[in-house]
C-alpha cells in the first residue's frame, strides 16, 4: 500500500499548511494579565466565505485594534457535526467570549450554553431566549431590503424585478420580504405596477436554489427570470448567487442587487453588474460586543443587538459603477425613504424579522 502512505503524508502536509496561518496568540503584551480571549466558531461556510463568517472574524480583528487586550481566535467547522465539539473545546480552553456564527448553530449553542451557565456566549443571526448567557446579534435586514426593492422597482425598465433564495430559512426570506414590500411601496407611491418574481410574501412561497454553492442553478434561475422580463435580480443565496452575477455581467441584460457584504468588495470581478448591496454589518456588531466585553462591561443578553437602518447595522451599499446610471431623483427618494424608516414613519414588517 505504498500509494496509501504517500497520500497519508500528503494529507499531513496539507493539514500542516492549513495550520500555517493560525492566528497568533498575543502573549506577553502589557495587557496579558487581563487578556480577553474572544473565540469564534465558524459555520460550514469557513472563514473565507466573504460573508458572515468573514464579517464576524473581521469584527474580532477590529476589536483587537481598538482594545488591545482582546485576543481573537477561530476554529472552522467542516460539518454541522463539528459545532458542538468546537464549542466545547473553547469552553475547556476557558475563553472569555465564545462566538457562534450563523443561525444554523442555534441548537448546538443552546445545548452547550445550558451546560455551561457561567460561560459567556454570543450568536450571530439568531436569538436564544431559553438561556441567559448568550448575547444575540440579529439584523432586521428587511429594512435595508425594503430600500433595495424600492430602488429596483424604480430602476427597472421592464417593470419586472425578481428575487430568489438559497434556502427557505428566515435569515434568507427576511431579505425577500423586505424586497417585495419595497416594490409594493414603490407601486403605491408612484401608482405603477412593477411585478416581483420569485417570492410571494403573503403565501411565503417562492424560488429557491436549495443550495448555497450551486452557481449553475443560480444561472438557470436568473435565465428563467430574464425570460419572464425581469431586469433587476436579487439573489439571497451566497455562492449560488455568483451564477446570477456572472450571467448579468456577461449578458448585460439585467443588473444584480447583492446581499450581506458589499458586492463590489466581496465579489469585485462582478462589480459592473451590481446595482447595490443590502448590507448586514456583522463585523460592526461583533466588534461592539467584544470591545464592551473586554472593557469589563456586562453584555445585555436579554435585549442583545438588533441591526437596523437607524444604527447602521443594516444598510444599502453605495451604487459604485451604477452611480451615474441611477437617476438622481431616485437616489433622493431612496434617501428620503431611509429617513422615513429610521424615524418610524414607515414601518417595515416581516414574519421573519428578529424576535424582540
Amino acid at each position: 500500500m505504498r500509494i496509501v502512505s504517500v497520500f497519508a503524508v500528503g494529507g499531513l502536509a496539507l493539514s500542516a499548511a492549513a495550520c500555517g496561518e493560525a492566528p497568533k496568540n498575543n502573549e506577553g503584551g502589557s495587557n496579558a494579565a487581563n487578556k480577553y480571549t474572544a473565540c469564534m466558531v465558524t459555520d460550514t461556510g469557513g472563514i473565507d466565505d466573504k460573508s458572515f463568517n468573514a464579517g464576524a472574524w473581521a469584527g474580532l480583528q477590529a476589536a483587537q485594534k481598538t482594545q488591545s487586550n482582546v485576543d481573537p481566535k477561530y476554529v472552522a467547522s467542516a460539518a454541522e457535526a463539528d459545532y458542538e465539539p468546537n464549542l466545547t473545546q473553547y469552553v475547556n480552553q476557558k475563553c472569555n467570549f465564545i462566538l457562534a456564527v450563523g443561525g444554523l448553530m442555534r441548537d448546538a449553542t443552546l445545548k452547550i450554553a445550558q451546560a455551561n451557565a457561567n460561560q459567556e456566549f454570543g450568536i450571530v443571526d439568531s436569538k436564544i431566549a431559553e438561556v441567559k448567557n448568550v448575547y444575540p446579534m440579529q439584523f432586521d435586514t428587511a429594512q435595508a431590503a425594503f430600500l433595495a426593492g424600492y430602488l429596483a422597482a424604480g430602476y427597472s425598465k421592464t417593470g419586472t424585478v425578481a428575487t430568489y433564495g438559497g434556502m427557505k430559512i428566515p435569515p434568507v426570506t427576511i431579505f425577500m420580504d423586505g424586497f417585495v414590500d419595497g416594490v409594493a411601496h414603490y407601486n403605491k407611491v408612484k401608482n405603477k405596477d412593477v411585478k416581483v418574481l420569485g417570492w410571494n410574501k403573503a403565501t411565503q412561497n417562492g424560488t429557491f436554489a436549495e443550495a448555497f454553492t450551486d452557481q449553475a442553478k443560480g444561472k438557470a434561475i436568473s435565465d428563467t427570470f430574464v425570460a419572464q422580463r425581469a431586469d433587476v435580480i436579487m439573489p439571497v443565496a451566497g455562492g449560488t448567487g455568483l451564477g446570477t452575477a456572472s450571467a448579468a455581467k456577461e449578458s448585460g441584460k439585467f443588473s444584480v442587487i447583492w446581499v450581506d457584504s458589499d458586492g463590489c468588495e466581496s465579489a469585485a470581478q462582478y462589480c459592473s453588474a451590481f446595482l447595490s448591496t443590502v448590507e448586514k454589518n456583522i463585523s460592526g456588531a461583533v466588534e461592539q460586543a467584544v470591545v464592551a466585553g473586554a472593557k469589563g462591561d456586562k453584555l445585555d443578553n436579554a435585549t442583545g443587538y438588533v441591526g437596523t437602518l437607524a444604527n447602521d447595522g443594516v444598510s444599502l451599499a453605495p451604487y459604485h459603477e451604477f452611480d451615474g446610471k441611477v437617476p438622481a431623483e431616485l437616489k433622493a427618494e431612496v434617501e428620503k425613504l431611509k429617513a422615513d424608516v429610521v424615524s418610524g414613519a414607515i414601518k417595515v414588517e416581516s414574519p421573519n424579522s428578529p424576535t424582540k
Binding site: D48, T213, Q215, A216, K219, A220, S246, K249
Partner: protein
Amino acid sequence: MSTVTVEDLAGVTVPRRFWTRERKTGAVFVALGVLAAGLFGALAPAETARFTLSEDASGAALKINGQFGAILFGIVTIGAGATLLAGVARRWTSTLLGLGILAFVLSFLCWQVAGKFMPLVDTAKGSLELALPLILGALAGVLCERSGVVNVAIEGQFLMGAFGAALVGTMAASVWIGLLSAAVGGLVIAVLLAVLAMRYLVDQVVLGIVLNLLALGLTGFLYERLMQPHADVYNQPPRMPTWRIPGLADIPVVGPVLFNTNPLVYLALILVAVISVGLARTRWGLRTRAVGEHPAAADTVGIRVKGTRYRNVLLGGLIAGAGGAFFTLVSTGSFNKNMTSGAGFIALAALIFGRWTPVGAFFAALFFGFANKLATYLSAIGSPVPSQFLNMLPYLATLIAVAGLVGRVRAPAADGKPFIKG
C-alpha cells in the same frame, strides 16, 4: 440481484398473467388522466396559455385556452392509458407510454401557464444546459461501468475538472487550454480510481466516495488559499464562445437550442454518437462489453482485461473532467467551493436510468434537466405549488420514471468486481 434478464424470459413460455406491465402502466395513466382532466381542468383559469417560440415573450406563440387544454390533454392521457389497459396495439406500447406522459405534462402546463407565457426556446435551452454536465458525466460512467469498474467518483472528476479549467484557463488566458486542463483534472481522479481499484483491489464504491471527498477537500483548500485572495490571477477564466452553425441554426425552436450554442454541447452530442456506435460495432466496444460481462471468458480468448479497464476508466476520466469544465467555462465564469453540488451523483443516476447505454443516459440526463428547468420556471411564474415540492420534482419524476417505465435494469455482470487472473 438475479442475473436473468427480461430478454431471456421472453423465449421461455411463461403463463401470461392479466396484469402485465403494460396494463399496470395503463391503469396508472387512466388515473393520472382523470386527475389531470378533473383537478387541473377545474383549477385552471379559462385564460390563454401562451407558449412562445422564442427566448422571451416576443415572437410567434402557440396559444391555447388553459382550462380547455388541461381537460383536453387529460383526456388524451386517459385515452393512452385505456389503450394500454385494453391490451390492444401491443406494437405501439412505447409510443403510447410517451404519449401518455407528454399529454399529462401538457395538461399540467396548460393549468400552470394559463394567463401567462412559457418561452419554449428558453425552456429547451435551460434544460439542455442543466443536462450538459450530466450527459458527459453519465458517458464517463458508461465507459467505466461497461468495462466492469464502478465509478462513483464522477462528482470528484467534475470538481477537479471545474477547478482545473478555472485555474489553468485563467493563467493561460485560453478557454481551450482550460478545457484540456479540465480533462486532465478528471484524469487525475480516474488514475487514482483505476490504480486503487485494480492494482490494490479497494472496494470501488467506498473508493469512489473517498475520491469525491479528496477532490472536495483539495479543490476547496486550494480555492481558499489561492483563488479567493487572488481571483483576478487564478479565478477568471475566459468563457466558452458560442458557435453558430449556419442554416441549421435558423430552424425554429430547435435551431437556436442545438445549433447556436457552445462547443461543449457539440462535443457531448458527438460523444454520445461515437460511444454508442463504438460500443455496439467496434472491436474496442466488443472487448469492453466482454470484459464487463465475463472477464474470465474474455481473458481466456486473449483479451487483456486490466488493460481494457484501465483504458476505459482513463477515457472516462477525460470525459467527466471535460464535463466539469461546464461549470466554470460555460455556465459561470469562476470556481467556488463545492460548486458541482452533487451533479455527479445525478449523472450516476442518469447512467442507471439510461440502462448503461450512451443514448439512454443522454435522454435520462435531458429528462432530468427538463424537470429541473421546469421546477425553476414554475416557481418563477409564481405557481401555487410550494417551492419544496417543486424542487423535489426532478428527483420525484426520475424516481417514477425509473420505477415505472424503465423497469428492472441490469448492470454489466462484472460491474464492480475486480478481476484477479486465476
